[in-house]
Structures are given as structure tokens and as C-alpha cells.
Amino acid sequence: MNSVYFLVQQTMFFSIPLLVVALGGMFSERGGVVNIALEGIMIMGAFASIFVISVLQDTMQGQLLLIIAILVAVAAGMIFSLFHAYASINMKANQVISGTALNMFAPAFATFVARTIQVTKSINFNNTFRIESVPLLGDIPVLGQLFFQNTYLTTFLGIAILIVSAFVLNKTKFGLRLRACGEHPQAADSVGINVYRMRYAGVLLSGALAGLGGLIFVIPTSTNFNATVSGYGFLALAVLIFGQWKPKRIIIAAFFFGFMKTLASAYTGIEFLSNLGISSYLYKMIPYIATLLVLALTSKKSQAPRASGIPYDKGLR
């Protein structure tokens, strides 16, 4: 039973950042802007917030510091994503090129600043954010151990973001308008929706969530930041497409991949799996192979938002 608890807790650590970042990507793409820059934005968010943590941690600790870091990550992600928004919305640039530039800029910038300030590339921080057990909820048998022990504030934040995102996208005026801009911006414009503004909102939301995702990714799995998020932004992109640009499917995709990833990294701790005698490299490959197979089986009818990737030009109505 202990290994089940362990697996669930670990799966959370891997899945939640994927979930949050993929939801960010969803807002951008449903609004009509392809955001391949998720990886770069994650790095920026993680860099800014971890840096703030490393500066403030002598005077502050625990959840309050984490909340400040979250705000910093969100702000950094939003500011950085503005560059993508400006290029792809105002300048009608190729969104893949702009995204690639951001992806390249972020790790270089993080390394450059870190090494200029403190010589080494990696920023260390003390992890004072782990919640041993949530009061009351953590005492519930089984469920408490599964979800409310050895956890982080960010896990619950991720779940909350999922619920809010699904609601916003499907039930609010804003969500429906955003989707209209991603499907048929000309039609949206003709009924008085400001397409440019909606698309800015989409990209900024993706920046906020991706920046946050960067922080969420680093905190539970490490005590230093090395200007990398190990390709998680790209994986989130995969989760987004695998999830068909829909919140309900994105959560399935994120947990599928997160679980596979957990098996790959934690199989030695599970007697049954480690006794199989399969090479550790094979385990590491499994999440990617499984995703590829699932994609092959489910993509036939996959349909991206129709106008995503196409700059909106008012003059072409």
C-alpha cells in the first residue's frame, strides 16, 4: 500500500506542471496563436521565481515565500509572453519562428544572468515548502494519505486552475469569445469582438500558466535551478495536442504521461517492477513510446483550432 501512496504522490509531481502548462497552451491556441514558446516561458517563470526565493529565503520561509514566488513566476511568464504576443498578433509574424526565438532566449538569459551575478549557473534554494500533512484532510484514512500528505500547495493550485480553466473556456462569455477568435476570427470581428485583444488575453494567460508551471516543476523535484525544465514545455505541448485542446482530455493526457514518467523514475522502489529485470533505459523510454502509440491511435480525427497559427489581418475580411 505504501508504494501506491508513493506512486500517486510522485505522479502528482510530474503531472501537475504538465497540466498547468498545457492548459496555458490551450488558452493561447484556442485564441488562435500557436505557442511553441511554452518551454522558454517555463524557464523564465522558474528562473525569476527561484531567484526571488534564493534572495528572500533568509528572511522568509514556508508557504508565504511560496506564494510570493508563485506571483513572481506568473508575472515573469506574462511579461515574457508579451514578446510572443506582440510578434504574432501586432506584427503578424510567423508564430513558430517567434516561439523558437523565445525558447532559445530563455535558457541563455537565465544562464547569463545567473553566471554574471553569482559565477555558477545553478541557483540553489532550500525547499521549505513541502506540506507533511494537510490539517484535518490529511488524517482521512487512505484518501488523506493519497492526496493530502507529502504534498505541495502548488498541487492544489494546479487542480484549482484546471477547474477554473474548464469553466472559463466553456461557460463564460470570455471563453466563448476566445474560442471564436481561434476558430473564425473574421466572424468574431464582424460581431464586434476585438480579435487582437482576445488573442492578447489568450497569450498572456498562457504566459501566466507556463511561468507558474516552471516553478511548480522545479520545486518538488529539485533544490536548484539550472536554466532548464528538461523539455517539459515541449511535453506540455504534446499533452495539449494529445488532449485535443480540451480541458477534460488534457487532464487525462497529463496524468497518463505523468504516471508513465513516475513508473520510469521510481520503478526501482516497486518490487514487482524492479524484479522484471528490464533495463532502466527502457523504462525511461516508455512514457514517450506510449504517448506516441496513443497518439497514433487517437489522432485520426484530431482537429486543431482552425485559425491557430494564422495571423489575423483585419484588412482581409
Partner: protein, 387 residues
């Protein structure tokens, strides 16, 4: 004649836009240097501009040495771009190709002077196979090539780590074994010409592929079909072009180029070995920059590859002035960002060319006119498709 060429460059391509992007990127880079270390900013910036030349003959040799693999990955990414595919998987194709080349290089001595050629072809085939899979998945199952190539990157990296450990492992250094002497790229006397550098025949292999891809894209029906697919998939299907076949072929050729890149890196005999680390090969991603800067034109890739290598070498020498070499990556990314904004610059140039009567001198005005019209027409078509 010269004038005509200049006008054509200005008016027709993104050449001017690329130049502006490069200047803008360098300018921002200079500002960053000024902010971080005002005293040495000028020295540092001059070092960037001098690029590999700072190192003399060795530096010049190393420009070509470093340019070789990124020209190949640039060709890989650019070729796929021409068919409307984004090959973000050059990294995986490269490492798989590199592994097979090393495998042949280590385990098959006695192939004589053709050893390196065979090893390189092996690498090429492996890279091609690695990109064939995303191509197939895209053509048959509609799997987005970006996602499948990202997955193939990781699968390739872990697989090569496992295979190196099984087959050609140097357990002392935790890396792949050195390849046989006969499998190393010939140096063609360049090791004496550019003393101290690692330049080898690889750069000529890269140039050869530049020419081959240029001919395929611009002089053959097959290349025309590929470009047509990239331009408008539906129209090309209507014209009887087999889009699925072209997707698979385009990816496969792109993968072959990245595979050669891997072979050229690890057969160079320059002390680079496949290390068992969970990190994707950087050259695959640099290839994206190289291809984007060149607007995916193979000849352009040759020059942008050398350019990127040139300032990257400059970055190494910047450490003399206490600067962090990552400033180069920052500059390159800014250049790419500005080149993404190039559309607006290009519009400006087109308008300028029309207004200033630039067309009167060498290019007859009517020739410029239909060109603009055609572009506008295409834009409309894109929108039509959507409606």
C-alpha cells in the same frame, strides 16, 4: 549586372530583412554588455564581431569545424520547412545517426579508406529511419510531426544511451569508444593549414549536401512537388501530387541530413564522444535557428551556419573579458525574433522599391507589379481555405 543583383536581393527576398535582424540583434547584445559590464563592453563586443578570427588560423579552422554539423541540421530543418513540416526532431535523428556511425567506426575495421564513407552512410540511414517514423505517423495517422519528433528525440536519446553502454562503451570514461583511424574524417591537409583546429573534410561533405538539396528543391519535379505541398496542401493534392508520399519522403530526407550531422560530429576525431547523459543534442536545435535565418534556402543555410558558428566562436573568446558566452545565444535568439518580425520590414522594402522607382532602373516595373499581386492573391487564398 551587380546593380540588378542588388535590387533583386532587396526587393525579392528576405535578405535585407535578415541583415536588419542581424544588426538589431547585435545592437541589443551590445546594450546587454553595456549594462552588465560597462568597462569592457566595447572590447567584448569587438570580440564578438571578430568572431573566430580572434584565434588566428586555428580560429578560422574552428569556424568551419563548428559550422559543419549545424549546416547539416540546418539543411534538415530547412528541407522539412519547405514541405510545410517542422522537424524539431533533428536532435534525435542526429544522435541515432551519430551512434550508428560510431558503431560502424569502432566495430568494422578493415574497410580500408572507405571506412568513414560507409560509417557516414550508416549514420545517414539511421537518421533517415528516425525521421521516417514521424513522417509515416503524420501521413497515415495524422499525428502532428512536432509532437512525434519530440517523442522520437527522447526515445532516440535514451536508446542510444542504452546501446552505447551495451556495444561501444568505454567504461573508464563513461562514453563511447574512439572510432578506428580509418573511420575518422580525412583532414585533407587542413590540419596543417589551420593548425590546432579540428576542421576536416566534413565541411566539404556539408557543402556537397547543400548543393544536392539545392538541386533537388529547385531543379527537379520532385522538389517542386515538395514545395507545392508546403505552400498549399489542398491545391497540390488537387493537382495530382501525392501529399502523403511527399510528407514521408521529405521527413526521411530531412532525417538523413541530421543523421549525417551526427556522423560528422563523432567521426571528426576531435575528441568528441557520445556521452551517456540525459541531455538532447544541442546541434539539432541550433539547426532550427540556422534554417530560420536562411529562410530555409539550402545555399542560405551554408552561410547562416557559418555565421552562427562565427559568432559562437567569438563567444568563446569573450570569456577573456569576463563575459559569459551565453550572450551569443541571447544575440542569436534576438536575431531570430527580429527576423520573425521581418514581414513588416519586407513590406516596407516592397513599398520603398515601388515608390522610389527602383523598378525603373533595372527591373521593369511590370515585373515587380505582378509579383506583389501574386503575393496578395495567395494571402487571400489562405483565408479562403479557412472560410
Amino acid at each position: 549586372m551587380m546593380n540588378k543583383l542588388k535590387h533583386r536581393l532587396l526587393a525579392s527576398s528576405g535578405f535585407a530583412a535578415s541583415l536588419i535582424a542581424i544588426f538589431a540583434g547585435l545592437f541589443v547584445g551590445f546594450i546587454i554588455l553595456l549594462i552588465t559590464n560597462p568597462d569592457q563592453a566595447v572590447d567584448g563586443f569587438v570580440t564578438i564581431l571578430k568572431g573566430g578570427f580572434t584565434g588566428g588560423a586555428k580560429g578560422i579552422g574552428n569556424i568551419f569545424y563548428l559550422a559543419t554539423p549545424i549546416i547539416m541540421t540546418g539543411l534538415s530543418v530547412g528541407f522539412a520547412f519547405k514541405t510545410g513540416l517542422f522537424n524539431i526532431g533533428a536532435s534525435g535523428q542526429l544522435i541515432v545517426g551519430g551512434y550508428v556511425a560510431v558503431l560502424i567506426g569502432v566495430l568494422a575495421p578493415g574497410l580500408g579508406s572507405f571506412h568513414w564513407v560507409i560509417a557516414l552512410i550508416g549514420g545517414m540511414a539511421a537518421g533517415a529511419l528516425w525521421a521516417f517514423i514521424p513522417g509515416l505517423l503524420k501521413a497515415l495517422f495524422n499525428v502532428h510531426e512536432v509532437i512525434s519528433s519530440i517523442m522520437m528525440n527522447y526515445i532516440g536519446m535514451f536508446m542510444v544511451n542504452a546501446l552505447v553502454a551495451e556495444t561501444v562503451f568505454d567504461s573508464l570514461r563513461a562514453q563511447s569508444l574512439p572510432v578506428a583511424q580509418s573511420a575518422q574524417m580525412p583532414t585533407l591537409g587542413m590540419d596543417t593549414l589551420f593548425k590546432g583546429s579540428s576542421v576536416n573534410a566534413g565541411i566539404f561533405v556539408a557543402i556537397l549536401f547543400v548543393i544536392v538539396l539545392y538541386i533537388i528543391l529547385n531543379k527537379t519535379t520532385f522538389g517542386y512537388e515538395l514545395k507545392a505541398c508546403g505552400f498549399n496542401k489542398d491545391a497540390s493534392r488537387y493537382a495530382g501530387i501525392n501529399a502523403k508520399r511527399n510528407i514521408i519522403l521529405s521527413m526521411t530526407i530531412a532525417g538523413a541530413m541530421a543523421g549525417v550531422a551526427g556522423g560528422l560530429i563523432y567521426l571528426a576525431g576531435s575528441g568528441k564522444f557520445i556521452e551517456i547523459v540525459d541531455v538532447l543534442a544541442m546541434e539539432g536545435f541550433t539547426g532550427i535557428s540556422v534554417a530560420l535565418l536562411a529562410s530555409s534556402n539550402p545555399i542560405g543555410v551554408l552561410f547562416t551556419g557559418i555565421f552562427v558558428s562565427y559568432i559562437t566562436n567569438g563567444g568563446f573568446y569573450m570569456q577573456l573579458y569576463d563575459f559569459v558566452p551565453e550572450i551569443i545565444d541571447i544575440i542569436i535568439s534576438i536575431i531570430i525574433y527580429f527576423s520573425a518580425l521581418a514581414l513588416i520590414v519586407r513590406h516596407f522594402f516592397d513599398r520603398y522599391a515601388l515608390k522610389s522607382g527602383l523598378g525603373d532602373d533595372d527591373i521593369p516595373a511590370p515585373k515587380v507589379e505582378p509579383k506583389r499581386k501574386r503575393r496578395i492573391g495567395l494571402k487571400n487564398k489562405e483565408v479562403d481555405k479557412d472560410e
